[in-house]
Structures are given as C-alpha cells and as structure tokens.
Symmetry: C2
Amino acid sequence: MTDIDTDNSPIPERKRGSGVKMVYDLLRDEILDLVLPPGSPIDEVQLAERLKMSRTPIREALVRLAGEGLIDTLPNRSTMVANIDFLNLNPFFDALVLMYRVTTRLAAQNHRPEDLAVIRGFHEDYAAAVKSRDALTMIATNAAFHAAIAEAGRNPYFTSLFRRLLDEGRRILRLYYQSYEEQFPQRFVDEHAAIIAAIAARDIEAADRLGKAHAEQIVEQVQKLFARNNKLDIAL
Amino acid sequence: MTDIDTDNSPIPERKRGSGVKMVYDLLRDEILDLVLPPGSPIDEVQLAERLKMSRTPIREALVRLAGEGLIDTLPNRSTMVANIDFLNLNPFFDALVLMYRVTTRLAAQNHRPEDLAVIRGFHEDYAAAVKSRDALTMIATNAAFHAAIAEAGRNPYFTSLFRRLLDEGRRILRLYYQSYEEQFPQRFVDEHAAIIAAIAARDIEAADRLGKAHAEQIVEQVQKLFARNNKLDIAL
DNA sequence: TGTATTTTTCTTGTCGACAAATAAAATACA
DNA sequence: TGTATTTTATTTGTCGACAAGAAAAATACA
C-alpha cells in the first residue's frame, strides 16, 4: 500500500521471452530462502506492477512453480507459497536418503572428468561459506554440490526428483539456521571431501555407503534441531 | 490441413477455470497414447481453434506439460512432443525398477484397507483388458494399477516420480504393442496378484522382492521387443 | 545454376481489457 | 446484539490484439 519504489527501476527494458524465466527465478529464490515463508499469499497484480510486466508471463511462471510443488493454487481463489508438513517429514527424509545414495552411487559409476571439476567447485564454495559462517550461502551451495553429483550420475529422472528434495531441504534448513550452528558444517565439509574421493576413484560401494551415511547424518541433525525447536514452540 | 470437424463440437460452453485442465488432460492422453507421436509439432493457434478457446489457457497447459517433460519448447520457436531417447533407455529402466521396488515396499508398510480396494479394482480392469486383448487399455490400466500401489505407499515424492516413469512407459509400450503379444500379459496378471497378496499381508520383504522381479520382467520384455524391432529397422 | 540479401509469412510472447467467481462490506431483519 | 441477505469490491480466468523473432519465400547478384 505504501507507495515506495516510485522511481528505482533498473530494468527499463527486457528481452522478449525472458519474462517468465525472470519471474520464475525470482519467486523460486524468494521461496527457497524463506523471503516468502510458507503460506504467504502471492498476488498476481502486485507482482505485475513490481516487475512492470503484464499478468500473462507471471501466471505462466506460477503454473510452473505449482508443478514443482513450490506453490499451491486454489481455483478461483488465492495462490500461496506451499506449506511444509512438519508433522510428518518421514516421506521427505525417506526420499532424500534414497536419492543421496542413488545419485552418489551413479556418479561414481558414470561421471566424466569434467564433472569432477564442477563438483569440486561447489565443494570449495561450500567450504568458504562454512568458514565465513554464511548460513544462507551454506545452504544453497550444499544443495548445488549434491545437485552437481546427481548430474554426474546422468539419470535425469533421479536428478529432477533430487533437485526437488534439495529445494525443499533448503526451506527446512533455512528455518532452523537463522543463526549459525557450531559443529554441523565442518563435519559435512569433510564428508563431502570423502564422497568426492570415492566418486573420483569410481568406488561405487564406497560412494553408496558414504552417501547414505551423509544423508543419515543430515536427517539426524535436522531431527535434533527439530526436537529442540518443538520444545521451544511448546514453551510459547 | 483437411478441414474435418466442421460442425461436430459438443462443447458449446465450458465452466470457468476448466480450460487449462481440459487442454492438459486432452494433450496428455494424446501424447501417452501416441496419437501425437514423439516429435509432433504442437500448434497453439490450431489447438485454440479446435477447442474453441483463446491461446492463454492453452499456453498454461503447455507450460505444465513441459514441466513434466512431456513436451519440449524451443524459445520463440515451435513446441513439440518430447522425444524418447531409444538409444539409451538405461536411466529410464534404472529409475523404473527402483521405483517399482520402493513403492511396492512402502505400500506393504503403509497401506490402509481402503487402498486395497482401489488396487484390486485396477487389477481386475487390467485382467479384463488382457482377456479382451485390448492393448491400449492394458497399458493404461497397468500404469493405473501401479500408481495406486504407489499412492498406498503414501510418499508423494516417490509417487510423482513413479507416475512420470509410468507415463513414459505407456509411450514406450504403446510403440511396441500395436498388435497384442501372446504370453506377456497373463504372466503379469499373476504377478500382480502375488504383489497384492504381499501388500495385504504387510510382508515388506516379499513385496520388495516381487516388485523388483516384476519390474525386471517388464524391462527384459521391453528390451526383447526392442532388439527384435531394431532388427526390423535395420532390415528396412 | 548457386549463393547472398531482402521481403513476406507465420508463430510466439506480451499486453490491456472484461466478465465470472469469490470475498468483504453494508444493510436488513430478528 | 447477532444473524441473514444484499451490495460492493477484489481477484482470477479468459479473450482478442499486436509486435518481436524466426522461418520461408522471393528477389538480387555472381
């Protein structure tokens, strides 16, 4: 309602065809970083004004986000950021652990030399984020690291499911990492290094084992954070 | 080009909001039944005329289909039915076998009584289709049967990936089942019955084993059909 | 005849407008 | 004051139109 941003539009013109992708990327980032928390209403008209474009490309971006489960659309009514079913994260954890295993295993089996460079790049980004205690970057680069491993596994079906799970993981982690956590990150840096080594050595069984262990570590940590937070919630 | 269907439109009016779903369902069916074979161009304007609606809801349906990998969209150019990578079906088979196992196992673990009724319903539909040697219905009900099992497993992440794989499977099977196959179907009816029994008994290990065996049977059959067909292709 | 350049045709991406569906507000009634 | 009904306002789903890009056709030139 307050008429801010009267004249600070650094995007006077846009290339044809870039509209949907721009909206999609923007909303996706804002959703995954919890700038738009679960349940937030999404107003097409407001977005159209903010981005200075018509509702058509915005709607198409919303359809895409809905297809990926990031937003929910009630027919003829509002559309809002998808909620997270905190009461039962088991299906999420089950799928996550399995995909960690499968993708790491396939990466050991099918990766090409150039894949390793990409993976190592994200590994270093993650390590840097841990060092500088930047939670948001940590979460994002961790997801990128594992997505890169999945790509190296060369199974698009697994990759796309895993990407979706990693996205959801970003939201969940973000929720519990407003402030940084002490021992969580460094251990993961080491585990990542071990996973890379197993993949590079094409040791499929080791990759599988490490992937599984890593996944279970993460799940355990999240559940721990969760239990603690639930107590806080009850305390309120 | 031939101007058929000049006046046989039994859909003079449509409910508001049903547009996209109608187009989505129609195109999805036509794609999965190979009425629109891989590579077919999809013309928005033509569709708009055929369905007597504007291009907007059609485009939104296309965005959704693209998200599920059923169509490919080249920016500023044509959009067409997604191709099938026949040269390397291994990623597909890998994902399919794993999802067969996982969903069957989870169904044994998590199903509720009402789920069994649904599953048995599709089982009977499939058996009936086999008896009447109706290939198209056979393929569709087989997919519905396994999708129902996945639903009973209650893991939406696995379910949605499996649905996508079953869809792709429908296209592949359809390609090689123009005419019916002799021994293929009946064996599968029996295997389906065994799977149902394992699920009903909540025998998780048996469900896993049967699901895996069933999946590998299917993969083997498809590969056999494939090898034979490749010879025919070469012979041409 | 074959290649390069311009013109035309076609398709897509985006826009502004309008009407249906719903929610919110206002009013009537008990 | 509390509930039911009408009125208003908001938001969504759909439409027809138009211009940007790309493909196809036509033309120029060697």
